[in-house]
């Protein structure tokens, strides 16, 4: 009995360790060979703090970013833009999703759009009822994006940043207007 328990613990240890250390999915970088454009961002503790020192407090957007990243431990982004559709397989996406299938991660949003083919999954990691990380997997017809943010983060503030830096904000209010009609 004791031996069985020990064996189970030994087998479970690497899985737990992998889940804790999980940052960037293995083999994801091979997609860059097929991609037209690749964005790779890997920023951890000291590098993150150093980069945030260059964010200006006078610039409102940069000030928001500084506030957002002040307690983060790491930001990992892999985004691939392809010339044509179906450049990546469903298996590629499923492999990404499978990595987040662990008790510490909770899938809070799962969008499957047949209309425009935009599929987005958002996973939260909670520690003592506090946000400890977020993973976003966005699979679009010509784009595949993986985002892993380690540390406490304000999701609303992060979503707000999506409409800044010259990128038009998605008009989520139009849907609300339709509701009023």
């Amino acid at each position: 009995m004791r031996k069985t328990l020990l064996l189970m613990l030994l087998l479970a240890a690497p899985i737990t360790a992998r889940a804790q250390e999980f940052k960037i999915p293995p083999n994801i970088d091979r997609l860059s060979a097929k991609a037209k454009e690749t964005v790779e961002v890997t920023m951890e503790g000291p590098m993150l703090r150093w980069a945030s020192k260059f964010l200006s407090a006078e610039d409102p957007e940069e000030a928001k970013c500084a506030k957002l990243v002040q307690n983060l431990r790491g930001i990992y982004v892999r985004s691939f833009e392809f010339d044509k559709e179906s450049a990546y397989s469903n298996e590629d996406v499923e492999q990404l999703r499978a990595l987040v299938h662990s008790p510490e991660w909770t899938r809070v949003v799962g969008v499957r759009s047949v209309h425009d083919g935009e599929n987005v999954d958002v996973y939260f990691k909670l520690e003592n009822d506090k946000m400890a990380g977020i993973i976003v997997i966005a699979a679009e017809p010509k784009e595949l994006t993986f985002v892993n943010i380690v540390g406490p983060i304000d999701v609303d503030q992060l979503a707000d940043l999506g409409g800044e830096f010259g990128i038009p904000r998605l008009d989520t209010s139009s849907a609300k207007k339709g509701d009023r009609r």
Partner: protein, 126 residues
């Protein structure tokens, strides 16, 4: 005029040097050496004691110091510039990462809102 053989023999005969000759020669040699060294030292001192040369030396040393200072400051400025450029690049990367994450979250948010509105509309119609 040729000297008679006897006189020649007499002139070239082996004679012992006067007493203390070797010591005197050695003392002279030593004295000569010391004098030469002293002369060289004096001429070197002379060179530096000349006012123009003295000021030229001071000027050259100042120029070297100033040039060294400029070189050091320039190096520091270059290092600071390089660090600033690296920091700016890191900042851009950070903002790009946040922008990507934010935009994907917005897509998810928009889709969720869109779906809930559609569901509500459907409910109202029914």
């Amino acid at each position: 005029m040729t000297l008679p053989e006897n006189e020649l023999k007499h002139a070239l005969r082996r004679r012992e040097p006067p007493e203390g000759f070797a010591e005197r020669v050695l003392a002279r040699v030593e004295q000569e050496g010391t004098r030469k060294t002293q002369k060289a030292r004096e001429s070197l001192l002379d060179f530096f004691t000349r006012p123009i040369l003295r000021w030229a030396t001071v000027g050259a040393m100042c120029a070297v110091l100033v040039a060294g200072g400029f070189y050091y400051r320039h190096g520091q400025e270059l290092r600071a510039q390089r660090e600033r450029a690296q920091g700016e690049a890191a900042k851009q990367q950070l903002m790009l990462a946040l922008r990507i994450a934010g935009s994907k979250l917005q897509i998810a948010k928009a889709k969720v809102i869109e779906t809930s509105v559609e569901n509500k509309n459907r409910e109202v119609k029914e």
